[in-house]
Structures are given as structure tokens and as C-alpha cells.
Subunit: 227 residues, 2 copies
């Protein structure tokens, strides 16, 4: 597992509620395409993992997106979502690891321990937004830490991603967790700059598996140039 993801591209294949491809059962084909293109792993929502497994044998990082009243954490917020992921047989479980309070009195540390106790062989990935959150995750013992939430929390809103200076610090600071660059990579030049920061692996999602967003990015440019 570790070996397979090393220096590899993890393709995020998600169609959550509200997205054009939601509920169409298409992520298995996105995963198939990712594999054909040389991907080392897949990041996917729990519902889609069984069908993705039918198409590929790549390692899968699973997550559940779920909103709870009173908490801003929506990536695998509680053990209820972790239980769903444990059932899928994914190789890694990704959970929010920002400093924001989780629902139901859960903490990042308690959720991490719960998962590791339930399935000692499973790896856990911390979806971080700041260096502090990454250092906490590293200390807790997460196997991977990603920059997933950078730019998507109140504390980091408005920060341009990929945030290379942050990524470089992030990759250098982790002692135990393997650093994964995730978020905002659209173009070749961005990927090259990300790789210069020496992450263990890279996640790209929207630029590969969300054709509506890719189209919108181009049509926005056309509208702007028309004036």
C-alpha cells in the first residue's frame, strides 16, 4: 500500500450531492480512466468504493461527506461515517483534521483511535488546513497528512491554492505522517511547482474528473475575454 502510493498521483473521483454526476454511478469509470492514465491511487466517497473496486485494484482513500448541525467539519466527522468506511474495505480513511470542533463531542484524536482500534491494518489520512493542524495530526500518529482543507476553512479562506510556501513547510515539518499535496492543481506548471516541494504523493480531482467544472473554467475565460 505505502509502496504503491509513493511518488504517485492519486485521482479523486467524487460526485457528491449537488454535483452534475451525483447518483449516476459514473465514478467507477472515472477510476478506470485514472488507472489507464497511470494513477497510483483513488480518493473516493464511501458509496462509490464498491463499484470502483470492481474496476481497479488501486489503493483507495475513502471519505464520507456529511454535514452536522453546529459543526463545520464535513469530511468523515464522526465514528458513524468511519464505520461506513470500515465496511467498504478501503485502504485509507480520510478524516478532517482541522482544529474546528467535530459534532457529538468527537475529537480528531478520539476518532483516529477509534478507527485504529477497529481496524489496526487501516491507514488514516488527516485532511489539514494549517501547519498547526498538520503537526497535531503528526503527533497523534496519522499515516498521511494532506493539504486538502487549505483554503476551505474560515482560518484559511482567501488563501490561493496550491499554496507552495505552505506546502514546502508542511512537507518539511512532518515527522511521522507522509505529506500529501491536495487542492487547487489544474495545470502542468502548478504540478511541477508542487513536486518541487517534495510531497510523498499528490491528489488531483476536479481537473481530471469534474468535466462540468473544467468546462466552466474555460467558459469563464471566454466570457471575460468577450468583455
Amino acid at each position: 500500500m505505502y509502496k504503491k502510493l509513493a511518488s504517485g498521483l492519486i485521482v479523486s473521483c467524487q460526485a457528491a450531492e449537488g454535483e452534475v454526476f451525483h447518483g449516476l454511478g459514473l465514478m467507477r469509470y472515472m477510476a478506470k480512466a485514472a488507472k489507464a492514465g497511470g494513477a497510483a491511487g483513488i480518493r473516493a466517497l464511501a458509496d462509490e468504493i464498491p463499484s470502483i473496486r470492481e474496476e481497479t485494484d488501486l489503493p483507495v482513500i475513502g471519505l464520507v461527506k456529511k454535514k452536522y448541525e453546529g459543526s463545520e467539519v464535513y469530511i468523515t466527522p464522526t465514528r458513524r461515517e468511519a464505520d461506513v468506511l470500515l465496511e467498504t474495505g478501503c485502504d485509507v480513511i480520510a478524516i478532517d483534521a482541522t482544529a474546528r470542533p467535530r459534532p457529538q463531542g468527537e475529537t480528531t484524536e478520539s476518532l483516529f483511535s477509534y478507527i485504529k482500534k477497529a481496524a489496526p491494518g487501516i491507514a488514516v489520512m488527516a485532511d489539514c488546513d494549517t501547519l498547526e493542524s498538520a503537526l497535531v495530526a503528526d503527533k497523534i500518529g496519522f499515516d498521511y497528512a494532506g493539504t486538502t482543507m487549505r483554503g476551505y476553512t474560515r482560518e484559511t479562506a482567501g488563501i490561493g491554492i496550491p499554496d507552495y510556501a505552505f506546502l514546502k513547510e508542511f512537507c518539511g515539518a512532518l515527522r511521522h505522517a507522509k505529506p500529501i499535496a491536495e487542492g487547487g492543481i489544474w495545470e502542468a506548471g502548478q504540478l511541477k511547482k508542487v513536486l518541487e516541494c517534495k510531497p510523498y504523493a499528490v491528489v488531483i480531482g476536479t481537473a481530471i474528473t469534474r468535466p462540468a467544472d473544467i468546462t466552466a473554467r474555460f467558459t469563464k475565460i471566454m466570457a471575460e475575454m468577450r468583455g
Copy 2:
């Protein structure tokens, strides 16, 4: 029709034989995503047009890819493929308009006339590779001329695309046919430079609807940087 394509993005949604998505019936969803992202039109293979029509009301440029012994022309080479396209009710029929000989004694002009006689209301797009081929198409009376074949014929092999200098000349030289930029657009900066050449519309395909190719483009960079 004309009005709808003007200054718009046409998203090519194709999964020909040999491609990862071939035969999976996915192009209807790619077209749906393209529409959601603000596309002005779709370019598609004949087989996929009926299902694409079920998902969107966008104008469709249809083509058939078919190889004949003894000819290098494979985009709607003869009236047999044109007949198939006429049945689909597409708005525009795209045909190869390079100087290469077509199969079965057909010529670009004879095929154009055949289509216009069979369906006077239909528009025809010339898929060109050189300025000469575009000028011939313009004189014949094609409604649209695209740079589709630039870089893909023996005469133009090895030319980097998008070929901006060529595109600018192409757009300036056409008197009747509306110029369409097609081929090689992957990134925002390329699209901006293409738009500066003032094409009537732009086609983007692979960078939006071929996730295996998009993945491969990124994994190639990662392999190169690993050394």
C-alpha cells in the same frame, strides 16, 4: 444555430474505438456536464448523438471516424458516413477537408455538395490542416472551417499545437466560412492566446472529456520529475 455557437465553447465528447470510455454510453453525461459548465455546443460521434440529444438541446457537430484502405482520411470520408450523420439530426456535419485523397473517388467538394443537396438546412464544417486546405473549403462554401487536423497530417506532423501564428492567419483569411479553433488546448493560458486570434468559436475535447488522457499528462510529468 449560428447565433448559439458564436463566441462559444464547443466541447468535443468522443470515445472512439480503442479509448477507455468507448462503448460505455458515457458521452451523454459528458455532454450534460459540458452544458452545466456553459458550453455552447457539442462535437460528437454519430453513435452517441441520439443519447446526447436526450441530455441537452445544444447544437451538435457530428462526425464519423472510419478508416478505408488506401486513404488517410478518416473523418466522415465518404457519403456513406454522411448518410449516417444525416439520420442523427445533428446541426453540423464535420468532414475532413485536407488535400489528401478520399476513398472511393469522393472529393471534398463532391461530398460537400452531396450533403447540402440531401439536407439544405444543415451546416458543414471543414476539418483543415493548412491554410491552403482552409481556403479551398472557404471557396467551396463550407459554413465552418476548423483547425482540427493541424498537426495530424503528414504535411503538418510535428507542428506544435495550438499553432497561434497559423490560427491568426486562418481566422483572417476566411471570407465565408466561420473559423473554429480546435486542437491542443489544455490550459487557460493557451485558450487566452487562441482567443486573441479571434476565432468564431473554440473546440476543446481531451482536456475536458478524456480523464485517462488528463491523468496520463499529469503522471508523465511526475515520472519525469522523479527522474
